[in-house]
């Protein structure tokens, strides 16, 4: 064992005689700077990602609602806010759109009534229903969000603002009790539907609230059933589409912002319009920083490849003698390979270490945004750095192999 070590030292020493310390240090510092910038930018991107992907809205992540602004002319029936089929097609054709669907309105009259306990008063209001494809809803799959003809109880989602309006405005002024979200979800409303010459009573219950979308939603299946039964026959929804729901491939895609910037009469509600812009700028920023990191890395890699050229050139006589003594090409590549493997991984280790310091620094500033440190971004940064240094090392070793092959 000791003999082996001694022998290896002998052999490696022979080939590393010409390793230039200044070149190695030059490479190490340049590569360290490049890797630190690259790894930090990557880590930062991973850390702030949750800011742009977390969502507590009505829709699953990756959806946005588009409507047209209501103008003065709309009131006179001109320049209305209905999307025509060419406009819908134009949006559907965009690269960032995965699927497009729209709100289905009810085509009959709806009244809701509720008797408040302890009082004889009955609240009654005219209202409407809309539905969207169930699969788009975060509520989808929830046991409450179901309806069939036998159940009789219609699940409804209303804007949370409606409840606030009642609790903080109406109930106080009228001497009525305030109602919490959990209580209102226990209440059963009477729903009266009139249309097509028929009137029928149903029961309805509020199963959820939405923060960002002003509509009253019922399940898709109820909407199609009720429209069938109560709407004047022959009518359909086309020509009445005023709100579109887009499923986008990547909510942070800058093309989305570009497209809608060119359509000033469109309004987009993606729960995070401001975040979308921030995400856009931040993506540009992070990409720029990574490009800088790559630009620093390039001369470092160039320096390494040149140093390899020089080392092999200086060692060519020794390499030639060793070859004639019966050493294989692989054996001759090994001492240089081990050198670059150790060098690259040590540099990467320091790069990761500095990245952790930088991360600690920016987290002390990011705390106000409510971003918490997670280990997930660290894991992906480690994976990224390991992949990066592996690719780099493989490139170096390939280069060494090529150079030594020329000597043989």
């Amino acid at each position: 064992m000791r003999k082996n070590t001694k022998y290896r030292r002998l052999f490696y020493g022979l080939l590393r005689k010409n390793v230039s310390v200044s070149q190695v240090l030059g490479y190490a510092f340049a590569a360290l700077a490049g890797m630190t910038i690259l790894f930090s930018a990557f880590c930062f991107r991973e850390d702030v990602k949750p800011l742009f992907s977390s969502e507590s809205g009505l829709f699953k992540p990756g959806f946005m609602v588009v409507n047209k602004k209501v103008s003065v002319l709309s009131a006179f029936g001109k320049g209305n806010s209905i999307f025509d089929s060419s406009e819908i097609e134009e949006i559907r054709r965009q690269d960032f759109v995965r699927s497009l669907s729209y709100f289905t309105p009810c085509r009959y009259q709806v009244r809701a009534m509720i008797s408040l306990s302890g009082r004889m008063s009955t609240l009654s209001t005219e209202m409407f229903f809309e539905s969207v494809p169930d699969k788009l809803l975060a509520q989808y799959g929830n046991k409450d969000w179901k309806w069939d003809e036998t159940s009789g109880l219609i699940p409804i989602i209303i804007p949370r603002d409606y409840l606030n309006l009642y609790n903080f405005g109406f109930s106080g002024s009228q001497g009525l009790p305030q109602i919490s979200e959990s209580i209102i979800q226990q209440l059963v409303f009477q729903i009266i539907i009139d249309g097509n010459g028929v009137s029928e009573n149903f029961k309805g219950r509020i199963v959820g609230f939405s923060d960002n979308l002003n509509t009253i939603l019922v399940p898709e299946v109820f909407m199609s059933w009720s429209n069938n039964k109560f709407a004047a026959s022959g009518g359909d929804d086309s020509g009445r589409i005023s709100r579109l729901i887009l499923e986008v491939k990547n909510p942070a895609d800058p093309k989305i912002a570009e497209f809608f910037a060119a359509k000033p009469d469109y309004e987009v509600n993606d729960n995070k319009g401001e975040q979308g812009k921030l995400s856009y700028f931040l993506t540009i920023l992070i990409v720029s920083v990574m490009v800088v990191g790559a630009l620093v890395m390039l001369p470092a890699i160039g320096l390494m490849l040149l140093s390899i050229n020089l080392m092999v050139y200086k060692d060519r006589q020794t390499l030639n003698h060793l070859m004639l003594l019966g050493f294989s090409r692989d054996a001759l590549v090994r001492p240089y390979s081990i050198l670059v493997i150790v060098l690259n991984f040590v540099v990467a280790l320091f790069g990761v270490f500095f990245t952790l310091i930088i991360r600690h620094f920016y987290f002390s500033r990011l705390g106000v945004l409510g971003i918490t440190e997670t280990s997930g971004s660290l894991v992906s940064t480690f994976v990224f750095s390991i992949c990066f240094v592996l690719v780099l090392t493989i490139l170096d070793i390939y280069w060494i192999y090529r150079k030594i092959k020329k000597v043989f």
Partner: protein, 214 residues
Amino acid sequence: MDIIRVNHVIPDFISGTENPVSEIWSKEIPFCRGKKYLIRAASGKGKSSLFSYIFGERTDFTGDIFLDRAKTGTLTQSQWVRIRRMEISFVFQGLRLFPDLTAFENVSLKNRLTNHKTSEEIRDLFVRIGLEEKLNEKVARLSYGQQQRVAVIRALCQPFDFILMDEPFSHLDDENIAVVAGIIIKELEQRGAGLLLSSLGEDYPFDYQQRFDL
């Protein structure tokens, strides 16, 4: 390896010369295992070239060289590695020792490839050729004659069927030549190996089966 055939070989540097007078160039010469051959020529006639062609180091010639049935030009890198480790040993004219390593390190670097001899056997060889004092001396500090002897020991530290020796005794006195030749003859007998030795004209104490004037 039982036979090295040198068939119609003409080095590029003498091709074009009309009718080169040579007992090897342009001829069919078989070198057989177990036999000893002397190749004599003045400087610059191509003794080292012939050995380099056989050893696969150079290919600037026309004609064919066969190691057993394999043509040298067709051998792969890994086949050459095996041949240089196990079948043909070579004492280079330029010695090709590593000046920064000691005499012993130079020899053991080669020996470790096949672990052919033990450290004790190597030391014993140094003792027999009178270099035990120089064992741990850097080769750069040895005289050329001493270096030649180190190179011979190194060439013996591997299995071989043939050993090529390119003017190995040029800087040795007769007494040293006799000692080194004795060691070589014993090693050749042990392995049943063949010897190809080149000289400027000297005969050296080997009983050759054949002598060639290149």
